[in-house]
Symmetry: C2
Subunit: 192 residues, 2 copies
């Protein structure tokens, strides 16, 4: 799952995880400062720039990216552990991270979340009330650039009403479980 | 939607049409004899072999096939009319018909329905109580052959419990509406 800042990705992801028993979140590693409402090991694993670099060097990230001068990464071992337990894994990654994941050829489904319009995106960024106007302006500009990558994703979910967007995400997960390549092993076991 | 006889496709299709307001069934044309419970223009358009051939010659079918000595076809004009009214169109076609539809390059989603196992398929065919044992044996043999084509479809739905299969079909339809190539025109209109 990727989205520009202000598309409502974090809230959507949380609602989805509450609804989907089989879905687990892989907690990303980041070098950015912890916000007041956040918890280490819950929202992110907050690590130093040095520790992050060590993990890059050891090849421990399935994807990592630098965004707004901070680093974010997803640990391959975390994903493998969750998958081996029979879970689907939700990754919250940016367009650079998605590109790395595509290149890895993992069995992944790429979903891009967009705001219903640019005005809503701007409003959501302002409401967050943590960033000065020039940072918001940069985020809006970045959002436009990121949204041009949307066509490289499998699905695009317009996050207008949260509940509808959650239902669409649920439908995508359910449908993808019935993709022919994932069901064929079962069909072959029917002895046809 | 395709399925071998006995996979429960007809019941599944009916339940789905009841649930999905936006979904319409394109009624096929056939040369086979009408069964006692069927109605002309509702279950099929029942036509003579000569009329069917005239429609083939005029190119009126988007797909047609011969199955068990009978002919079945889907009229292109019917689909175009339903689509122009904003509907999704459900086609009930066999593996040969699906192959023709693929070759046409229409914006279609291919779903193959399979029984939970071959024993259930056999039981369902026997329960139908309209066919002599040798016809049932042929249908089981055909079913095995058709199921080998399942990997050419986009989705495979295992029809074990009807309600679950309907929910899966619903999820597939909902998810496909969010496929990136179908949503990108909307994203471009956001002015990114």
């Amino acid at each position: 799952m990727s989205a520009p800042s202000g598309a409502g990705k974090t809230t959507l992801g949380r609602s989805l995880l509450e609804r989907e028993a089989g879905l687990q979140h892989s907690i990303s590693y980041t070098t950015r400062a912890m916000r007041s409402a956040e918890q280490d090991g819950v929202d992110y694993h907050f690590v130093s720039r040095e520790d992050f670099q060590r993990m890059i060097d050891k090849g421990e990230f399935v994807e990592w990216a630098r965004v707004h001068d901070n680093y974010y990464g997803t640990c391959l071992a975390d994903i493998e552990r969750l998958c081996s337990q029979g879970h689907d894994v939700l990754l919250d990654i940016d367009v650079q991270g998605a590109e790395q994941l595509r290149a890895r050829g993992l069995d992944a489904v790429f979903i891009f979340i967009v705001p219903p319009d640019m005005e809503v995106l701007h409003q959501r960024l302002q409401k967050r009330d943590t960033d000065p106007p020039e940072v918001i302006a940069t985020r809006v500009k970045n959002a436009r650039q990121e949204m041009q990558q949307a066509s490289r994703y499998d699905y695009i979910v317009i996050n207008d009403k949260l509940d509808e967007a959650v239902q669409t995400m649920h439908a995508i997960i359910k449908a993808e479980h019935s993709r022919a390549q994932r069901v064929m092993p079962k069909v072959r076991r029917l002895g046809v």
